[in-house]
Symmetry: C2
Subunit: 350 residues, 2 copies
DNA sequence: TCACCGTCTCGAAACGATTCGATTCGACGC
DNA sequence: GCGTCGAATCGAATCGTTTCGAGACGGTGA
């Protein structure tokens, strides 16, 4: 806003010789105003250089800001190198844009300090787009303020949620590998929770990741009746990490014949690691991912994967946020996934 | 915000038995309040479930919103697949975050319709982060509203600007190739302006792109005393496009011995095209880019490029926006670049 | 002509805080 | 005991709109 002496609706009204309320009506179009009066007001506004009703004053009076906060991972550079994030955000942005709502981007890890914006920023609702574990301080801060929240890929009772059929999708994908004769299957999950580190874990043990999608996709593997021969928790869900995990799984005598990664980026990394180790895909090892994102630089390979409707997920979240802002009750949304068979999976060797 | 009957500062003050002004002081900490009084107020607030001062009311009174709008390309999915965008945005987000300022993300192509948010959204200043040509309607709309603007990589007199030494950097890079004995050098520029299409253009003709960086980087090539044998304007600055342009330049009998691309993503595409055509880099053809972004999937190659301080560029823009919001006058910033010699350039063949 | 009824316009009260200038109160010095 | 001073507190104005109920005005039907 311009600082100092801005011209206000009162100035315009005075100049046009009408009351402030009439001038307001002339601008907002809500209520009957004689065409001649409206013109007079608009003319005065133009002459005085009136920039239109102050959005802040309007917000105060109306009791709504028209802004939805979107909480994403702390380092945008990292978060946005994952097409899953950017495509979801794109969906959110599209839907909010079409509704004339603003998108307040709040980078924040869902553990550690909560950025002041989340405590004091003006917003009608918030979408937590990154991974979020129970007890998430960001979520709690919003809750305390009474800001309604939409969680993407997290199960919460007191918020709207948007989830996908991770579990069934992963089960179907894993089943496919079983059908191809694979018995030595390894799994790379998603990170279990906020404390991130790369490690093997016991597939037969008690596996309870804090993050919902991590939990669901793991459960999907087990649903397919598979007990992985090796299981790795990655530190992130990026290509580099996939390469590192891929090495851990493939550079050993008892290597598996198939690797199921819980994200396409991880799977792509595994693919690179395999190439690097001189392994043929899918002849020597099959690789499958999850998400169905477009990775043109992987050409000519096409990753076998479970495709989730990322843009639609974003749009759904945005719609849910708008609904909450309008005073509706929280709802839960579940989006379907589809299996995409690519070139990176094939019959188990020998 | 919670709709309906929220508890206000007045309620808290009444409950605590103090005046509204004292209660306000107790919260904001601006002004003398007896410790005992403050405690009493905070206690009442806690009991009544007061959520803290309403940000909108505060904004109205204070005359500032604490929000900086950032205008980026229309399709986030596309914009954010360019590390140049994400890294710059990361810098902006970091700096704004540290200052407690909000980041209102506004996707908008800088031609075509201006999103309503730009006309009516609450903001103290705006950063135009995407490419912007003279007469940019988004810029004009902001100007009309009296919102101060920072332009990244665009020359404007009536706004703050953040630019880099494109021209000198490109000249240095091109000079390097000349020193390596290259005489048949081809160039891929950036898009010239909003109307985007892929085409050869006459390098000896009158070349005046609307976008500043396009103009500067082209000028840099000429500064090095080079008249390219072939010149292509790309439709975007992405990898796919680089592949397409690379084919146009390399899949012909009179192919150049070196290709200078105005962005790393384009250069990476050229590299892929070269590999595809069975050309060795740099033995058969040298390839250079611009930006200095990290492209790990290009391994083992490292692109010869001009590195620009992307995060710092974002931070500088954010600082400039904060300064404008605080009422300072527009300023112009110029950031340095450095040459990074990678593995993709070598002596001219034969 | 009168009562009535739309249509348009207006005044005033919110919306929820911040801030300025004034007032009160207690303590202290003389 | 009185005047003075500083700290703490308070009232009231203000930020710029929107909105509600009431009023004015002109025209219509009986």
């Amino acid at each position: 806003m311009a600082r100092g002496d801005r011209t206000t609706l009162a100035d315009v009204a005075a100049d046009a010789g009408v009351s402030v309320s009439t001038a307001s009506l002339a601008f907002s179009g809500a209520g009957p105003v004689a065409p001649k009066t409206r013109e007079k007001v608009l003319a005065s506004a133009a002459r005085l250089g009136y920039r239109g009703p102050d959005p802040v004053a309007r917000s105060l009076r109306r009791g709504e800001t028209g802004v939805i906060a979107v909480v994403v991972g702390d380092r945008l550079q990292r978060s946005f190198s994952d097409p899953v994030s950017t495509q979801t955000l794109d969906g959110i942005a599209q839907e909010l844009g079409e509704r004339g709502l603003g998108l307040l981007l709040v980078p924040s890890d869902t553990f550690g300090d909560v950025p002041p914006l989340l405590r004091h920023g003006a917003m009608d609702a918030a979408i937590i787009a990154g991974l979020s574990a129970p007890g998430d301080p960001a979520l709690r801060a919003l809750r305390e303020r009474g800001v309604p929240v939409v969680c993407i890929e997290a199960t919460r009772r007191d918020a709207s949620t948007v989830e996908i059929q991770d579990r069934a999708g992963t089960a179907e994908l894993t089943g496919e590998l079983v059908a191809l004769g694979h018995t030595r299957i390894a799994v790379i999950t998603l990170p279990f929770g906020p404390q991130r580190h790369r490690r093997f874990f016991d597939p037969a043990g008690d596996v309870r990741p804090a993050y919902t999608p991590t939990r669901n996709r793991w459960a999907g593997v087990r649903d397919a009746g598979v007990l992985p021969v090796l299981a790795v928790e990655p530190a992130t869900s990026l290509v580099d990490e996939g390469v590192a995990c891929g090495r851990m799984l493939l550079d050993r005598p008892d290597r598996p014949t198939a690797v199921v990664a819980a994200s396409d980026l991880l799977a792509a990394g595994v693919l690179l690691a395999a190439r690097d180790l001189g392994l043929r895909v899918p002849e020597d090892v099959s690789v499958a991912g999850f998400d169905g994102v477009d990775l043109p630089w992987l050409a000519p390979d096409v990753l076998t994967s479970v495709t989730q409707p990322l843009t639609e997920k974003g749009r759904t979240a945005a719609r849910a946020a708008a609904a909450l802002a309008a005073g509706e009750k929280p709802r839960h949304h579940l989006l379907p996934v589809t299996l995409r068979t690519g070139t990176t999976t094939g019959p188990a060797p020998r």
